[in-house]
């Protein structure tokens, strides 16, 4: 009995988190970027956009004053110019190999899975870069992750047969990607919402402190495939959670 109550409590917790998550995602600043690229250009195009966003969402390492914790100094963020190989485009990224490897790994996985879902030389998928902050919860609840900014990159990948077509696309896609970067920078600069600078104790709730050289905001990357729209419009999931909870209630009461 106690075990069943515990399981019930867990379900409620997850449902509550999911509902909260849906609400907070709907309240979060969401930006959608659509790109149409050739297969070999997917990785670099997504990297260019993600690095541009992360550059604006990364600060130097905080060094708090030992005596006065409200005061802190900030390190500086280095930058690298990266020339794309399959695109006539250059983007700027944070000079941090660890950070680059973190997002590159996710993007490569996305590209590989996107290639497997090709249908008639065309495939679609959405990769999302989500910035969130953690909120402390009381036991037994875990800290909840509250997104405050969501970037959805809807990628339409097409496969070109000839090299001449790829060369043409190389030039045109570079200029289009430049326009996307301009839009991204303009959106980032709106300062709609940015978490407040935390105290030293709350620093891990806002920033990713595992990196040694830079300090980006907490973020995560996930993706899905197909033309199902963007991830924050998941109203069907809320109804399915509600029906599941009702089933649990019925099953518990019948016992």
């Amino acid at each position: 009995m106690f075990k069943k109550k515990y399981l019930l409590l867990k379900f409620f917790q997850k449902a509550d988190q999911h509902k909260t998550l849906q609400q907070t995602r709907m309240n979060a600043n969401s930006y959608n970027v659509e790109i149409l690229v050739e297969r070999s250009q997917v990785e670099e195009a997504v990297l260019g956009i993600f690095h541009t966003i992360l550059l604006h969402r990364t600060t130097g390492k905080f060094h708090y004053h030992t005596e006065k914790e409200r005061f802190y100094s900030v390190g500086t963020v280095g930058t690298d110019d990266v020339d794309c190989e399959f695109l006539n485009f250059t983007y700027v990224r944070v000079a941090s190999k660890v950070l680059d490897s973190m997002i590159r790994k996710q993007i490569v996985d996305f590209c590989e899975q996107l290639q497997q879902k090709t249908n008639n030389n065309l495939s679609m998928g959405t990769i999302t870069l989500e910035f969130y902050q953690k909120r402390r919860s009381r036991w037994p609840f875990n800290d909840e992750c509250v997104p405050w900014e969501i970037w959805n990159i809807q990628v339409t990948e097409r496969v070109l047969a000839t090299e001449s077509e790829r060369n043409i696309v190389k030039e045109t896609t570079g200029s289009k990607l430049g326009d996307k970067v301009i839009s991204v920078v303009e959106a980032v600069g709106r300062h709609d919402f940015v978490p407040k600078m935390p105290a030293q104790a709350d620093l891990p709730l806002v920033f990713e402190t595992s990196l040694l050289d830079v300090q980006p905001y907490l973020f995560k990357i996930y993706f899905n495939f197909g033309n199902i729209g963007f991830s924050h419009t998941g109203s069907n999931k809320a109804s399915s959670v509600g029906s599941t909870v009702r089933k649990i209630f019925r099953n518990t009461l019948t016992l």
Binding site: V74, G75, T76, T79, G189, D213
Partner: protein, 625 residues
């Protein structure tokens, strides 16, 4: 500006941050135009860092930026402007981008938790990202010997006139403060309105004509606090490439980089009146910039330039190479960097300038522009305005009195080519020396027609080429048919052998005469490989053939294309061998001198075979049995 709300310390901090923003922005933009990728390292513990972005400070750029903000920070009346331009080796420039930092009156609500640190850093990061997106960045990556990217920093009004039409405006970002909103924006020339290409012509060193020190006027330019400086000179580029670190040496400001001469084609926006709709381009010939003058303004009248060039070097227009250069200088005089377009244009066919200039703008419109005066289409008629010395053109039937002679091509006096009798070609234009010699004799009639396929070209008068052409034409007039002088007329006093050779009926009776004839033909024949044809009862000489067929084609000397000019061997030999019936091998052994004997032997052999025919038949029947 609500300065009453804030304290003086906050105001001081604001000024400090704004100046820092201007300095760091200049560093980021100019470094992004060096032509290579930039990398900086993240510094974990940076003491007293006012912004959380690592920016290297180049001393030269720092100096220029500090000079621009010496008089104060940007305000609503003036902005901090960074102008990026492209400059070719002949000091012609094209404005590519104009980045500006301004302060508006609008005071946004400053977030309490934010210091100046965060918005300034954010602005610089946005600037860094967007500086790689504009077309000028791609151009800067390709800069080299053909052109360099220059920058100019000043405080004042933003001047976008150099961008031409169709430029785009880019909003980098803004930061709200109590004293106004700091805005950062950029205006850049789009790729549709910008195209720089270079021709792969081997560079030429030196200028064949004298260029005076005042070749480019040093007139004042608006809102200029310092001349445009190259982001990366050639010298410093070479040094930097050899160094591991990214250190830019403070470049010398006086000397301009040593550019080579080459041809550069520009095509600017359609607002340039000299550009035709079909996209014909104007060609420049780029030379070493004179006097190390870093200023890019060119506003001297074309006429004054032409005068200077013509008065000092009157022979410059003779050669075809200089002819092409002259009209490029002519166009350089009209190049207005302020407007990024030509102020005037030239009607190329009428004015006789060869090359690629295809503007069809009327001179009537150009004459209205007093600042750049330009002669009309007909140089012969109208005097030149704003000239220091009058140009004088020699007309036909006119004697040269004094002054400078200016040669140019007057298309109105030429006509189409006529294949029929060519009159004496009279030069339309004369030089001073020739005119002095012929001062008493009137100039001959104007050119009416020219030999087929030949027109007297521009800038050809008075030189050897024209003389040679004249002589060739006169020689060609003599004979209307080619190689006619090689064909001798048929006379009655030819050798009596001709008459006897045709009437001979038997070989034996004419054996002697044929022998003599052959021997004579051999001696007369200059080609040892030529064959004697056996035609009927006689061997005829080549000359006899020519005489009997005077209208036939005579091969004098065969010079095949793309082959050695050696008529003795190869194709010439083959042609001669095939021209006549080849000599029989049986006659080659004897050198052809005993042909009659051989023929007699053959006949005798046949007679002998006929006698023994019965015996041969018996022998064959015995074998078959």
């Amino acid at each position: 500006m609500s300065s009453d709300i804030s304290s003086p310390e906050e105001r001081k901090e604001f000024v400090k941050y704004l100046k820092l923003l201007c300095l760091k922005s200049t560093q980021l933009i100019v470094q992004g135009r060096l032509g290579k990728t930039i990398s900086t390292e993240s510094i974990v513990s940076q003491k007293n860092a006012m912004i959380n972005l690592t920016v290297k400070d180049y001393p030269e750029i720092e100096k220029e930026a500090r000079a621009a903000i010496r008089d104060g920070i940007p305000n609503k009346e003036r902005s901090y402007v960074i102008e990026i331009s492209l400059r070719t080796s002949d000091a012609d420039s094209l404005v590519l981008e104009v980045w500006s930092i301004g302060l508006t009156n609008k005071c946004e609500n400053k977030r309490d938790h934010e210091t100046m640190h965060y918005p300034m850093s954010h602005l610089l990061k946005s600037l860094l990202c967007l500086s790689r997106v504009t077309p000028a960045y791609k151009l800067s990556r390709k800069q080299g010997n053909e052109y360099v990217i220059c920058y100019r920093v000043y405080m004042g009004e933003i001047n976008l006139s150099g961008l031409g039409e169709g430029f785009k405006v880019l909003r980098v970002g803004s930061a709200g403060t109590h004293w106004g909103t700091i805005t950062m924006s950029a205006a850049y020339r789009t790729t549709e309105n910008l195209h720089v290409s270079t021709k792969g012509i081997s560079p030429k060193v030196g200028i064949p004509f004298v260029v005076k020190t005042d070749h480019f006027s040093s007139g004042p330019r608006p809102h200029v606090s310092s001349p445009a400086r190259p982001c990366h000179t050639l010298q410093s580029r070479l040094r930097t490439f050899s160094d591991a670190s990214d250190g830019m040496q403070p470049s010398t400001e006086s000397s301009s980089p040593p550019y080579n001469v080459f041809n550069t084609a520009f095509s600017v926006s359609p607002a340039g009146n000299f550009i035709e709709k079909d996209g014909n381009k104007v060609m420049f010939t780029v030379g070493t910039p004179p006097g190390g003058n870093p200023r890019c303004s060119v506003s001297s009248p074309a006429l004054a330039r032409m005068q200077r060039l013509n008065i000092t070097e009157k022979n410059n227009f003779h050669s075809s190479n200089n002819g092409e250069r002259s009209h490029t200088d002519f166009y350089k005089a009209h190049w207005s960097p302020d407007k990024s377009q030509f102020n005037t244009g030239a009607s190329a066919p009428n004015s006789g300038f060869t090359g690629h200039l295809n503007s069809r703008r009327d001179f009537a419109d150009l004459k209205k522009d007093r600042r750049v005066s330009f002669p009309s289409t007909n140089f012969l008629k109208e005097p030149l305005s704003n000239n220091r010395k009058p140009l004088k053109v020699v007309k036909p039937n006119e004697q040269v009195i004094s002054g400078t002679t200016f040669w140019h091509w007057d298309a109105t006096s030429t006509s189409t080519v006529s294949p029929k009798p060519v009159p004496h070609i009279s030069p339309q234009f004369v030089s001073n020396s020739e005119v002095e010699k012929k001062s008493n004799s009137p100039v001959s009639s104007p050119l009416v027609c020219t030999p087929p396929g030949l027109m007297t070209g521009a800038f050809v008068l008075g030189c050897k080429t024209a003389q040679r052409a004249k002589e060739t034409l006169e020689a060609a007039e003599i004979s209307s048919l080619p190689f006619r002088d090689l064909l001798k007329p048929i006379h009655g006093n030819e050798s009596p052998d001709d008459e006897s050779s045709q009437s001979s009926t038997s070989l034996e009776s004419d054996e002697k005469s044929n022998k003599d004839r052959f021997a004579e033909g051999r001696r007369k024949s200059s080609d040892s490989s030529s064959s004697l044809s056996l035609t009927g009862s006689t061997g005829t000489l080549n000359n006899e053939n020519l005489q009997k067929h005077p209208d036939d084609f005579v091969l004098v000397d065969l010079k095949p294309a793309f082959a050695r000019d050696d008529s003795i061997k190869d194709l010439g030999t083959f042609y001669r061998e095939c021209e006549n019936v080849p000599e029989l091998i049986m006659f080659e052994n004897h050198g052809g001198s005993e042909t009659d004997e051989t023929l007699h032997d053959l006949t005798k052999q046949l007679e002998d075979y006929e006698k023994d025919m019965h015996d041969f038949d018996q022998f064959v029947s015995e074998l078959c049995a």
